[in-house]
């Protein structure tokens, strides 16, 4: 039995150790905000934070997660108050919305590392795929979060 720490809670999980974290989150913990997109770590829909770093959970075996703190979209806030959530709303970023959990977590990891990212920083860090084409709004939103934190 593995112990998983997700969004500040500890969960015992009884699965094969090579099960990707994605499917444990979705099917065992009912945290379905983390999405399946490609299964090979190419699209980023499944992005979560592991100890604050962006990780593509569809290629992370759950055995590699023990002892690490996992944050999913559900763990950002209870009331949509996380600055990234607020800005995502203010900029009306999502269209279909399917990739946006992963986008927001990738953005959070970027902003933690670089609170005032340049466009080049955003290009390098935000490699997730959005088929609706929301990239320019995501870029605007990331800059808006940076401006906010600058003011604080």
């Amino acid at each position: 039995m593995l112990q998983l720490e997700v969004n500040g809670k500890t969960y015992p999980v009884d699965v094969e150790p090579d099960t990707p974290l994605l499917w444990v989150l979705r099917d065992k913990l009912d945290l379905t905000g983390t999405k399946f997109g490609c299964g090979i770590g190419a699209c980023g829909a499944c992005t979560v934070l592991m100890d604050g770093q962006a990780a593509r959970s569809c290629i992370v075996p759950v055995s590699a997660v023990t002892g690490k703190a996992v944050t999913t979209i559900e763990g950002l806030s209870n009331d949509r108050s996380h600055p990234v959530q607020q800005v995502w709303l203010a900029e009306s970023v999502p269209q279909c919305g399917y990739c946006q959990s992963g986008m927001m977590l990738a953005a959070i990891a970027l902003l933690k590392h670089k609170p005032q990212p340049t466009d080049a920083d955003i290009d390098a860090a935000m490699t997730n795929i959005c088929r609706c084409g929301t990239y320019n709004r995501i870029r605007r939103a990331i800059h808006a979060v940076a401006r906010r934190s600058n003011r604080v």
Binding site: E16, T34, G37, C96, Y98, R131
Partner: protein, 721 residues
Amino acid sequence: MSGPIEPSAWGINRREFIHSMAAAGGGLLLGFAWPAGRLEAEQSVATTRLPSAFLQIGIDDRITIISPAVEMGQGGHTAMPMILMEELGGDWNRVTVQDAPASAVYNNPVFHQQSTVGSFSVRGWYAELRRVGAAAREMLLQAAAADWGVPAGELTAEGSVISHGPTGRSRSFGSVASMAARLAAPQQPALKSSSDFQVIGTSPRRVDLPEKIDGSARFGIDMTLPNMLYAAVKTCPTLGGTLKSFDDSAAKQAPGYHATVALPDGIIVIADSYWRAHQALAQVKTEYDLGKLAGMDSSRIAQILRTALSDPGIVIRSEGDAPAALAAAPETLEAVYEVPYLAHACMEPMNCTARIDAAGCEVWCGTQAPQGAQQTAANVLKIPTDQVRVHTTYLGGGFGRRGESDFVAQAVIAAKAVDRPVKLIWSREEDIQHDYYRPVAAIRFRAAFDEERKLSALDCVVATSSAPTRIGAGPAFYTGSIADSNYAYAVPNFRVTGLDKDIGVRFGFWRSVNESHNPFMLEGFIDEIAHHLHQDPYEYRRTLLQHERGKRQLAVLDLAAEKARWHDRSAGHALGIAAFEAFGSYIATVADISMRGQEIRLHRVVTTIDCGVAIHPDNIQAQLEGGMVYGLTAALRGEITLANGAVEQSNFTDYHMLTMGEMPRVECFVLPSTAAPGGIGEPGTAPIAPALANAIYAATGNRPRSLPLSKQGLTYSAQRA
């Protein structure tokens, strides 16, 4: 989509009777009752056991609007309510939106199917939803007037509050909703003048956004039912192949394994988790009869189409005498344009959850066609359609792919096999390799010029592989944008011929459908004509639009050129322009590029649109920009190829999507208009390919006549600075 869309049959058929009833628990329910006979005629695949409501106003003041359009990112769940709320005078903050069940009452008034396709939702529902909102408002005012003993004409409704100016009294919609439900619904309520609009033309927060930023939005793939099992599926890589035999002895030993189900064309494995099903499926050995497409490859398909261009086809449109003008012309120009198959690649892989019990079947999925899903499930189980309930979820992208129901059939087969609820999820590989592809297409253009070097004839032969037997579509459908009477350029002798080659690769509706290739080809050829005549491509297009039918196209063309500084471009930059009518909207795009060797450096994309009355301007901007990304991705590198009848691409590592770092600057401008609303979900996809190709010609003198551009050795970068 289950039938052809014949332009001649378009036109709004009003549902004659607005029908009111008391809502359960009090309040007003408003929907449509159909004239006898009419319902049966249209309701070949629908259920009657569900209410036909579009609007419910509760005694608690909640306003529930049943959206006939699904939400796949194009904003249907916001636009539909906005239209109704404009007339109702309700409080936007009290609105909740629900997806419509499968029922013919929700058939789009324009094309008589309950499908969110073809950028038809606002176009189809604009008149009807205003009528429902206005009828409800009149009933609420009448009820309040009767209760207060004042003339209804003295009452106003705003923000869900009814006010009586002379006495200063006011009360909420909810307080009179039950009384209003006892009144006869007015059939032709007075509608607002567009100059009085307060909702339409504003950009309220889209209703689906809060759920999409905290992980709570439920897509089909997020469905969970008690006692549910999970299914993974793999079908024959060779398109059209059928299963001969399989050996699942190893899979049976896998943890959590429940069952193997043989499909005519593949295998489903069911287990107690998706990952276990996926792992067990990989252990099933299969043998296939490869079928007719074994040995087929992309170069042969291209050859088939090219050869077909010389066959006699079906003349779809003919004005004047193009062949005679061509024969007599002192000067002609000819070119062939080609495009490949494309996959949709929705971010959410295809999936469906099904539950079967004595009462029938329920399915949960993101679908653009609830009645298609319903009919599919009914066919599998051989039960009447009214025993199938379809629960529509959010769609993680639709783009036309989710108008199909192949994945619904598989989920129902799986649930039936194990007698338990099953959620079936496709892998990305299955999604890329078993799509309903945007078909390959080729057009041969011939232009004739008279003695004064004026364009005297344009002859277009369009060859596609659209398998007309599937939906009765065929060349008439895929020549659509060219053969369409809205085609605005004035050419005295004009002929469009369609040719269909049934190659056997299943085709479908890909965001912007025929506009995904015809404008690339036609606007490319118009550009060729302009250069051939040594004329500026923008100014030359203007000369073809100097007539009444060309006015709206001319306006978007002019605005695009102005905003892109056509005659004042940056040094070293080349501009390409394209303009046309699509989905009832007029659109123009300018691509601003420079070349560095073989690298296309895209500096800016400017798009202008006249989409009639603009319902939600911010969402129109989002759709134009997003649609452009979909088109740009395809133009640069989108290509599904076949080798031995199997799709060679399999995932995002070999079917490449545009990424953040490749996203150009985009500027979109919506022209003010009081014309009937046009579509906005698809028009934006179409113009980038011709605009970009025309810019490449302007920069290099090389004319891209086929896509993707990557195949011609061109690379790409976005230059946002």
